[in-house]
């Protein structure tokens, strides 16, 4: 299907089905049950899942395939957001031109930064990208205020020109749309005690993510992808074979920058404002965390990682002491309080701590991330079956 082999088609199909059915899958608990706060099926969060999924897929094309660890990828996301919001301000509220512009601008940006940074490799490359990203952040925060609106962040306003549909702007701020279909439109569906929300914005993002995922599979399986892997495993040998690795790495860098731009554009399309903090290096660190947690160099890993971190950020951080007391109320008072005090630092506002610990454990024991973990578990089960069979055979033979 679409030039993919059977396994990849199955993977793509699975991802497509899962993203399309996400409003159901992520809302497994009835709205009035105590577990309803674990429901992640509301549009805002689901959009973040897929948007950061795109971001991580793009990052993985660079880090997973070439092994170049960029610590400045958030800069491209930020640039994408800014250009999308400018498009909303100047041209029209339609998201298509905004996204196209954000991808192009982020690509150009990545071309310049990549051209310079890729002269060095290893830790120097990380520091260079970090330096560039911090520079963009500092500039966006201070000097470029006319373009970025500094600390407040770039927002829409009523007197923006909006050449194509400026006339229709009346009393309230216009909303982003896809040819008239408003992004924030949503349909609620109630089935018994469950309620599911289908939002236009989410499905637009989901379609973009499936396309991005498809493209990533094609890149992974293409000769170009093979070349990138060759560079990762031994760059010197690639040069000795008479091939110049630079254009390949630069292409990978630009592609992943464009993915980040797409993610930034989508973020701005869902909520038309852009702030400099999206470019800060902690944001770049976040995408590194996502990719590593999910599994570097695997296709599905980054998406899983992005989902996990965003889930943590939005759901885990909401567990406060009251909720904990509710859970452990079946225990005697003293033990209940004790357990709540122990768990308290790890949830709620302290969710970063849990994330940091999980991340360290993954890097130390499971370098392949969640995907490797899944594979290991699967192998364990399969292995058990086999040894079980062998044992049975042995005993039979003995008898």
């Amino acid at each position: 299907m679409f030039g993919l082999n059977k396994k990849d088609s199955a993977l793509l199909l699975a991802v497509a089905v899962l993203t399309m059915l996400a409003p159901f899958i992520l809302n497994p608990f009835p709205t009035d049950s105590g577990l309803a706060q674990f429901n992640a099926g509301y549009p805002d969060l689901m959009q973040r899942f897929v948007i950061f999924g795109i971001f991580a897929i793009g990052f993985n094309i660079l880090f997973g395939l070439t092994g170049y660890l960029s610590f400045g990828h958030a800069a491209f996301l930020g640039v994408g957001s800014y250009s999308a919001v400018w498009m909303f301000k100047l041209l029209s509220m339609n998201i298509i031109p905004a996204i196209i512009l954000s991808v192009i601008i982020a690509g150009l940006f990545a071309l310049v930064i990549g051209y310079v940074s890729l002269r060095r490799s290893g830790i120097y490359f990380s520091i260079l990208t970090l330096a560039f990203a911090q520079m963009s952040f500092a500039l966006a925060y201070s000097v470029l205020t006319p373009i970025t609106n500094g600390e407040t962040g770039l927002q829409l306003s009523l007197d923006d020109p909006r050449i194509l549909d400026g006339a229709s702007t009346t009393g309230s701020l216009p909303v982003t749309s896809l040819f008239g279909l408003e992004m924030r439109e949503a349909v609620d569906m109630a089935v018994g005690p469950w309620s599911f929300t289908f939002s236009v914005g989410y499905y637009v993002c989901a379609v973009f993510m499936i396309l991005a995922f498809y493209l990533a599979i094609r890149i992974f399986r293409s000769p170009f992808g093979m070349m990138l892997r060759a560079i990762k495993s031994n760059q010197q040998r690639v040069s000795y074979t008479g091939l110049n690795p630079r254009p390949y790495t630069l292409a990978a860098f630009v592609i992943s920058g464009m993915y980040a731009g797409l993610a930034g554009g989508l973020l701005a399309s869902m909520d038309p404002l852009a702030g400099a903090e999206r470019m800060q290096w902690t944001a770049s660190g976040e995408v590194v965390l996502m990719t590593i947690l999910g599994g570097v160099g695997t296709l599905i890993g980054p998406v899983l990682g992005a989902g996990l971190i965003k889930y943590f950020e939005n759901i885990f951080s909401k567990i406060n002491d009251n909720v904990l007391h509710g859970w452990f109320s079946f225990l005697p008072d003293g033990i209940e309080d004790f357990i709540v005090t122990i768990i308290h630092p790890f949830v709620g506002k302290g969710w970063h701590l849990t994330l940091g610990i999980i991340f360290m454990l993954v890097v130390t024991f499971l370098p392949g991330g969640l995907v490797e973990g899944g594979q290991r578990i699967a192998r364990m089960f399969r292995g058990k079956k086999k040894t079980g069979g062998a044992d049975a055979a042995k005993t039979e033979a003995a008898e």
Binding site: L69, G122, I123, I127, F132, A138, V143, V288, L353, G356
Partner: protein
């Protein structure tokens, strides 16, 4: 002329902090070959040592003073720190006043211990792995340390004032007015840097460590337990970062993410100075601190807007592209 001297002085205190952190980073990198992203967190923990000592010293006992009343007419409750009860009022309050310099004494063993635990417990397992893995795991550790501190002390900055005697301003020769504590900080930094260099240069232990930095395997073959010495160096590097943090408290109130802010800049400093070169790290630290302060003058910011924000990164990019080894980098280190 005065303006130039003033800018140099202004650059010195930040430069000292950069130099101290970069020195520790380079010590770790030069000995163990590990890129330590958690070094900023060590700096932050140092600063919170001062907060801890301050909190402990000001632990108070509450007594009711029947002779005085508060504005509602109730007997006044007076809080007296234990140290004042134990050592008398004058000496006790002097101890509290000098809590930041005193926490230096507390900080050294704590930081050395943290350094040992970190190296033996975590970093040890990453010698054979790629630099990217080392960066990632120490980055995770930095997040954890930062969050632990946040869980204990909250997200707001906590003031750790300098002793009253050292908190004013001094008028230097030429009529330059300059905060005393910054001069103290610079002298302190110079002392520590000098101490580290002297230790490496003039003691047998330092000689072995330098030999190990040059060729670890051969030193090991000579029957010297170089691993243990490197662990001690890690503890020392952690202590240097911690000391830089303790004394930085009065200049900038400690908060839980100060380490991350300094970390990025210190890495840039290390790269500019030359990976693995101790004098390079120190020189680049002071140089970039002073450059930054010159770039913050109104003259510079009006000529090139925003230059004060980006100067360090700009210098780093230019240096990395034109002189990949950094200012004083040696051949063959991390290429």
């Amino acid at each position: 002329m005065d303006a130039i001297i003033l800018q140099i002085l202004n650059g010195l205190d930040k430069g000292s902090a950069y130099a101290l952190i970069a020195l520790g980073l380079t010590l770790i990198f030069g000995t163990l070959g590990v890129v330590n992203f958690a070094h900023g967190a060590l700096f932050m923990i140092g600063a919170f040592c001062a907060v801890f000592v301050q909190r402990v010293l000001t632990l108070s006992v509450e007594t009711v003073d029947p002779t005085k009343t508060d504005f509602l007419g109730n007997p006044l409750k007076v809080k007296t720190p234990y140290v004042e009860n134990w050592f008398g009022h004058d000496f006790g309050s002097a101890i509290i006043d000098w809590s930041v310099p005193l926490s230096v004494l507390f900080c050294i063993p704590v930081m050395v211990l943290i350094g040992f635990v970190m190296e033996r417990g975590l970093i040890k397992h990453f010698y054979k792995r790629e630099h990217a893995d080392q960066i990632l795991v120490t980055f995770g550790l930095a997040i954890v340390l930062q969050e632990v501190i946040k869980a204990f002390y909250g997200a707001n900055p906590i003031q750790t004032p300098a002793p009253e005697m050292l908190s004013g301003v001094a008028t230097l020769a030429g009529g330059i007015v300059y905060p005393v504590w910054r001069i103290v900080y610079f002298c302190f930094a110079a002392l520590i840097i000098g101490g580290v260099f002297a230790f490496l240069q003039f003691t047998t232990f330092g000689m072995v460590v330098r030999a190990g930095m040059a060729d670890r395997e051969t030193v090991g073959l000579l029957g010297i337990n170089i691993d243990r010495r490197f662990t001690i160096m890690f503890g020392m590097a952690a202590a240097v970062a911690g000391l830089a943090g303790v004394m930085y408290g009065p200049i900038n109130a400690p908060n839980y993410h100060m380490g991350m802010d300094f970390l990025v800049l210190s890495f840039v400093v290390v790269v500019v100075g030359g990976m693995g070169s101790l004098p390079g790290a120190v020189a680049a630290g002071f140089l970039l601190g002073i450059l930054e302060s010159f770039a913050s003058t109104t003259w510079a910011t009006t000529t090139i807007p925003g230059i004060n924000q980006i100067i360090i990164y700009l210098v780093a990019i230019i240096i990395l592209l034109t002189r990949p080894r950094g200012l004083l980098g040696k051949k063959g280190v991390m290429e």
